[in-house]
């Protein structure tokens, strides 16, 4: 049972961002499904690797486009990216130390990431880009 499947309603309005956001939806869904079967531990390592790759690739896409467009919110947005990346690093550390209590918080972290960062913050940044002809 998937938690959230990416669809048009989750579009932020910039195609390249939407495409990459759907990857995050996929990572969250995979982890959610594994948890339902009690297999969080078995997949967490791979998931955290994917999440780290995702942050590198996706945050750089967003920041590059915002830099090129002289987006006024770039510094703020970049700081939020640093915070999210720091949290992924922290979860990776907990995983390496065998912390069994990290799976629910990790799922919730990704869930909040989608709700608060992607669907609110990214949407606002994307709206500015749209106003400046970037879609």
């Amino acid at each position: 049972m998937a938690l959230l499947t990416w669809s048009k309603r989750y579009s932020v309005g910039v195609d390249a961002w939407d495409q990459e956001h759907s990857i995050l939806f996929g990572i969250l869904n995979d982890f959610h499904s594994s948890m339902l079967k009690g297999q969080a531990q078995a997949v967490a390592g791979l998931l955290l690797n994917k999440l780290m790759d995702y942050t590198r690739q996706h945050f750089s896409t967003e920041e590059r486009m915002m830099t090129e467009a002289h987006h006024p919110r770039l510094d703020h947005h970049r700081a939020l990216h640093h915070e999210l990346t720091a949290q992924v690093v922290e979860f990776t550390g907990r995983y390496k130390h065998g912390d069994q209590s990290m799976y629910l918080p990790l799922r919730k972290f990704m869930r909040d990431w989608l709700d608060n960062h992607v669907l609110k913050e990214d949407r606002e940044c994307a709206a500015w880009l749209n106003q400046h002809g970037i879609h």
Binding site: M1, M35, G38, Y103, L104, R107, K108
Partner: protein, 139 residues
Amino acid sequence: MEAHVTLLTWNHACSVGVRAMDDQHGILMDTMNEVRLALVHGRGQDHVTELLDRLVDFTRMHFWSEEQLMENSAFPGLDQHREEHQRLLALLRAGVQRLQHGENTRMRPLLCALRDGYLAHIEGPDQQYGPWLNQQGVD
């Protein structure tokens, strides 16, 4: 405002001894928290409805998972447990109906009842199937 909302947090005291069910209980609590926070923060009806629909879907799936496990291991308390699930689902359906009639403001007592019902269920009847399942090699 969030300080006034008591959120549910899974902890080891409510473990039933079966990993998948523990994780499902944790997710159930998180999903319930999402509904409560959305109501407290005055989010729009569409948003609350979406979260509540998700809570209904997830609850159904979770109850089904538990009943499957109990059925497969011939757990003697299955019938009684199934009745308890039906009772909680009825409570949940009442909440959905209220929301459909635009009664956001009256959701709170109902959600509290639901929250208490879920907690009592996890801390009560759910604790009984764990040892039985563990004996059958499910953990």
